[in-house]
């Protein structure tokens, strides 16, 4: 054919199952037992309440800058829900719902935002990477992990998350291209929350959907209602299964919305309207799912109140635990390398002398042995 349109092998699908009123397309409705549905609701609610509490803690100066994920609970939980324990989850920074569900003690997350590395230490037995700050950079180690899964032939997969803004980074591209070229068991969830700080989605890329980026890499994409937990579970489940069976990667664009601030250092009034936010509030993933559960008779208001109370107590306990934590001021010297080289030994000596001087030259005690000193240096 001298001139003509080329029929593409790859395609993009759309998926939405639950509408804003909690009505479901029953032909697509995933079969989930009531206790599973309650577990899902609880996980989303936990993430929501955690976010709200973190915003308060930030205002009280008890943690640092905080980046909430309000409104993105379904997009983040769905993929985590379909993974098994041996699979890997590679979050960006708006996946508390997924991380808490995967087994991160909440205090670790609180401690992360409080400026402590312990918050980035994945709990033993959990196969998640920690919160990642440099946008899209996690996609590459996500691809590397997926590569490891493939080499081990054990049917495990990796799911990585990235934002709409992150799709503009070179690292996103290199990761997806490599995933396609090596047919890696990697599922990439684009949390398209419509904003990258102040840049709206449509200025981020001229592509009509972000899911269609998959075509560039020779695999398929899906644009999913990211505020619809049933759709997210279905889409992620299919993609994970395909990856597990050697069918290669998938990009899932979860169309969602950042209901809150970018971080507590941000003022969204500068760049977006209240109306837009209000419109998206009507599509809140939590209330929508709750309506569905009520309609299905899985949960009533009273049961939800109980759930809320439990969650409130759980969060309070986590905050208390987190605030008991005293970091060891010498620890950074011990984790730069497996074995401390000479020159760091020498610098540690310098640092100890400094701490000793700060504690009034009494010598000996330093750092964690002496919380008073610790606070003084601070």
């Amino acid at each position: 054919m001298p001139r003509g349109k080329i029929e593409l092998e790859n395609y993009v699908e759309s998926l939405s199952i639950l509408d804003a009123e909690g009505n479901v397309d029953s032909s697509l409705e995933p079969k989930l037992e009531p206790q599973e549905l309650r577990k899902i609701l609880r996980a989303m609610l936990l993430a929501r309440r955690y976010d709200e509490r973190m915003l308060k803690l930030q205002r009280q100066g008890r943690i640092g800058t905080y980046g909430p994920a309000l409104g993105q609970e379904a997009a983040s939980l769905g993929p985590a829900y379909v993974l098994s324990k041996n699979d890997w989850l590679v979050p960006s920074f708006r996946e508390p719902a997924a991380m808490l569900y995967r087994g991160w003690p909440m205090e670790r997350l609180i401690l992360w935002w409080g400026g402590n590395e312990i918050g980035a230490r994945t709990p033993d037995g959990v196969r998640d990477t920690p919160i990642c700050v440099p946008v899209a950079s996690q996609c590459l180690y996500g691809a590397g992990i997926a590569w490891g899964c493939k080499l081990r032939h054990d049917g495990t997969v990796a799911v990585c998350f990235v934002g709409d803004g992150g799709t503009s980074e070179g690292d996103f591209h290199e990761a997806m291209n490599v995933a396609g070229a090596f047919n890696l068991p990697l599922v990439c969830i684009i949390q398209n929350n419509q904003w990258a700080i102040s840049l709206p989605r449509k200025k981020q890329s001229a592509a009509t959907t972000l899911a269609q980026k998959a075509i560039s890499y020779g695999f398929n994409g899906m644009q999913v209602d990211g505020n619809d937990i049933l759709a997210m579970i279905t889409a992620a489940g299919e993609a994970v299964d395909r990856a597990r069976r050697g069918g290669g990667p998938t990009i899932i664009e979860a169309v969602t919305y950042r209901l809150g601030v970018h971080t507590t250092a941000d003022d969204p009034k500068k760049y977006r309207t209240e109306e837009e936010v209000e419109q998206w509030k009507c599509r809140d993933p939590l209330s929508r799912f709750y309506k569905y559960l009520k309609k299905r008779g899985v949960l009533d208001d009273k049961a939800r109140d109980v759930m809320e109370e439990e969650i409130g107590a759980e969060i309070t306990a986590a905050v208390e635990n987190a605030e008991k934590y005293e970091p060891d001021i010498l620890e950074p010297f011990h984790h730069c390398f497996e074995t401390m080289p000479n020159y760091l030994e020498a610098q540690l000596g310098e640092f100890r002398a400094y701490l000793d001087a700060a504690s009034g030259g009494e010598g000996g005690a330093s750092g964690q042995d002496n919380p008073a000193l610790y606070r003084q240096v601070h």
Binding site: G64, G115, N116, A196, P332, C336
Partner: protein, 326 residues
């Protein structure tokens, strides 16, 4: 004259340059509608429009590389990296192209661009938002590296950088953005890039620093005088490339003793270069080893353990006392 913070002073320098020269543009993440995450570009989108203040997608290599292309097309871009910790994404574009185009084309294409980046610790920010890595740029031939320490020199140096015919890496000590105000003259002011300032004359020891570390150094100098009658001469480098060897040498020849202070890690850091220059030019005047008060050679700690890892006046005083009592 007006009392301005460094944030406002930087803003003023850009406003002035843009008003004077229609080829000056700003590119960066959130620099327009949002006016910059630190509000350094406040009001500029409104005043100069979206052709000249460009909200860029999240792509740092592109911010740098597109700026190189804009230079070839006759513009003078001011590229903002939201934090210096994300400037690494642009390292190859800056090394491969911004720093080389003049030489490669024997002057046919040049890169009169500025890369502005907030750097350093002190604002309790999350990981990757607080380290100091100016030395990696200082090592690359073809780049200048400028670091202001206060509102007035920030404004004058940014102006000089914007109009400099070569690429300038402009490191802004974010902890100083709003920490204090200074008188800044009405009229646009400029400073020669590559000249250090003796911000306080003294006779017993030379303390050399720049950027955010100037503040603990100034504190230390006060205490050294009051408590120990040690009279320190303070040098604010203001630029790492070119480095003002003459100012450093002259001072060390006078005092015979020196302490260098920066937040960046020690190994292959700026202090090493300063010491090498002292050795080359004033070795025989040295009465004690030069001491380095710097960030340790550790991965930058998360903010809860950050403060103790940074130079502070106590560390500076300890080092000065050792140097003086050697």
């Amino acid at each position: 004259m007006a009392q301005l913070t460094m944030a406002k002073a930087l803003n003023l320098a850009m406003r002035e340059a843009m008003a004077e020269d229609p080829t000056v543009l700003i590119l960066g993440q959130d620099v327009g509608q949002d006016e910059g995450v630190f509000r350094i570009t406040e009001g500029l989108l409104k005043e100069f429009g979206p052709d000249r203040v460009v909200d860029f997608p999240v792509a740092e290599s592109a911010i740098a590389g597109v700026s190189v292309g804009l230079c070839m097309a006759g513009f003078k871009p001011i590229a903002e990296m939201q934090f210096s910790g994300f400037g690494y994404h642009a390292f190859h574009q800056i090394e491969n192209h911004a720093s080389r185009f003049r030489n490669r084309t024997r002057g046919r294409f040049t890169c009169p661009m500025v890369v502005r980046m907030p750097y350093g610790a002190g604002i309790r920010a999350i990981e990757h938002h607080s380290e100091s890595r100016e030395a990696i740029w200082a090592h690359l031939p073809g780049l200048k590296v400028v670091i202001p320490s206060g509102p007035r020199n920030a404004r004058a140096l940014l102006r000089a950088s914007i109009f400099d015919p070569d690429p300038v890496m402009f490191y802004e000590p974010k902890a100083c953005y709003r920490a204090f105000k200074e008188e800044v003259p009405e009229q646009p002011e400029t400073m020669e890039i590559g000249k250090a300032q003796v911000v306080r004359a003294g006779s017993d020891v030379t303390i050399i620093s720049y950027g955010a570390s100037m503040r603990p150094v100034l504190e230390a100098a006060d205490e050294l005088m009051e408590e120990y009658q040690i009279d320190a001469e303070l040098i604010d480098l203001l630029s790492l490339v070119p480095l003002d060897t003459e100012a450093i040498t002259a001072s060390v020849k006078k005092t015979g003793r020196c302490v260098v202070v920066h937040e960046a890690p020690r190994n292959c850091g700026p202090a090493a270069e300063i010491i090498a220059r002292i050795v080359e030019n004033a070795l025989m005047y040295l009465e004690a080893p030069v001491q380095r008060v710097t960030g340790y050679d550790l991965v930058m700690p998360f903010f809860n353990l950050e403060r103790a890892y940074l130079p502070d006046s106590t560390k500076v005083i300890t080092a000065v006392k050792e140097v003086v009592n050697f």
